[in-house]
């Protein structure tokens, strides 16, 4: 990954999530600093994976902290990381849509999107119900073994590169590609069996 989100990528803090949420609830601005210190790298990776641009990614990460600030309270997300990761992903995807009209987007996300292309049972009907697909995806992934399941999530949710996933899992890159390929094939069949056309 490139040099992402300089100021947003704090390091070293490991404040408990409960304590971080307390700070948000107390409207203490240290909440953002602590979130950045603990989850800045994660957020930066997601944003960079989708946008492929360090500057845009940094903006999105900082914007995500503000969204988190607005959301907590009233919310008290437990666990915190997926909640934050979803905010980052949504904001980055929205930015990507805007950027796409200006024809400048790329990054690991564009690659992962091409891979997912083969999961689409009916390309002519490029519409679908996200909630229904999400339910199917959750069911499908929970029926998988832990390794292919997490590899899928790392690739398509966190937009991690094959190389990064290989490093994390201890698999070779070709093994990771193979696992992803087979999982996508299974997903395609599963979506078809559920009558889903995305």
């Amino acid at each position: 990954m490139g040099p992402v989100c300089g100021a947003a990528l704090g390091k070293g803090s490991a404040m408990d999530d409960e304590r971080i949420l307390d700070l948000f609830w107390q409207r203490d601005e240290r909440a953002i600093a602590e979130t950045s210190a603990k989850y800045g790298a994660l957020c930066g990776k997601i944003a960079y994976g989708i946008l492929g641009d360090p500057q845009d990614s940094e903006e999105i990460v900082n914007l995500s902290y503000l969204r988190l600030w607005d959301a907590v309270p009233p919310k008290r997300p437990n666990p915190l990381p997926p909640f934050l990761a979803k905010i980052v992903r949504n904001l980055a995807l929205n930015r990507l849509k805007a950027e796409r009209t200006q024809k400048r987007f790329g990054g690991e996300f564009a690659l992962s999107l091409d891979e997912l292309d083969e999961c689409i049972p009916d390309k002519k009907n490029d519409r679908g119900n996200s909630e229904q697909i999400r339910d199917c995806l959750n069911t499908f992934l929970k029926a998988q073994k832990r390794e292919p399941r997490s590899i899928f999530v790392l690739r398509y949710f966190y937009c991690e590169s094959i190389e990064e996933i290989a490093r994390k899992t201890g698999f070779s890159e070709s093994k990771v590609k193979s696992v992803l390929f087979r999982t996508r094939n299974k997903l395609r069949l599963f979506l078809e069996s559920e009558g889903i056309s995305v």
């Binding site: 990381p81 992903r89 689409i120 996200s130 995806l137 997490s150 999530v153 299974k186 995305v198």
Partner: protein, 184 residues
């Protein structure tokens, strides 16, 4: 955006899946030792198998066992993951069956359903059927075991001899099984 619904669905995945993916993986330090042992066991099995005089056609090992008219139960190798346990009467996802072909000549393999993969060669893509093999080969047959009434066949033709693997649901065993189809 291309396939927006799918992208949005991935964004909305369950928190537990998103969390789990960040947890450390079991490192595969013991893999070379295990791999060596597994390879040795397989080699021994194939060696013993080759010593047994056989009728015509390729010799076939299914999930490490010699193919015969005795049904071999297909069990999900879930590795302890509860959600994937036991395909039994109904499996939502295609099931992988390892098939070892031992043949000195050309063997043509065909399947009536599912997809064939050649281990170590076209692992990323299903092989085109009929598949021509020259000599030994390790295959994975990915079969959708969705309805107990379904049957699938894999035919291995070597010269004029052919052997047929039949995957079907055994009502007595209440399991999906593989066995040799000896009926014409």
């Amino acid at each position: 955006m291309k396939h927006e619904a799918l992208v949005n669905a991935i964004t909305m995945l369950d928190d537990e899946l998103i969390e789990e993916a960040r947890e450390p993986f079991r490192r595969r330090i013991a893999a070379p030792v295990f791999g060596f042992c597994a390879a040795a066991v397989c080699a021994a099995a194939v060696g013993v198998f080759l010593l047994v005089p056989r009728s015509g056609g390729a010799d076939i090992l299914v999930m490490g066992q010699e193919l015969s008219d005795k049904p071999i139960a297909i069990c999900s190798d879930d590795g302890g993951d509860s959600a994937a346990v036991g395909i039994r009467a109904f499996a939502m996802l295609p099931t992988d069956i390892s098939v070892e072909i031992v043949s000195s000549g050309k063997t043509v393999v065909n399947v009536s359903g599912g997809e064939l993969y050649i281990v170590g060669e076209t692992e990323n893509l299903p092989a085109e059927c009929p598949l021509e093999l020259s000599g030994d080969a390790s295959l994975v047959w990915s079969v959708p075991l969705w309805a107990a009434g379904e049957e699938y066949e894999l035919t291995a033709q070597t010269g004029s001899d052919s052997r047929i693997l039949l995957v079907s649901f055994d009502e007595e065993m209440q399991e999906w099984t593989v066995k040799e189809n000896t009926q014409p």
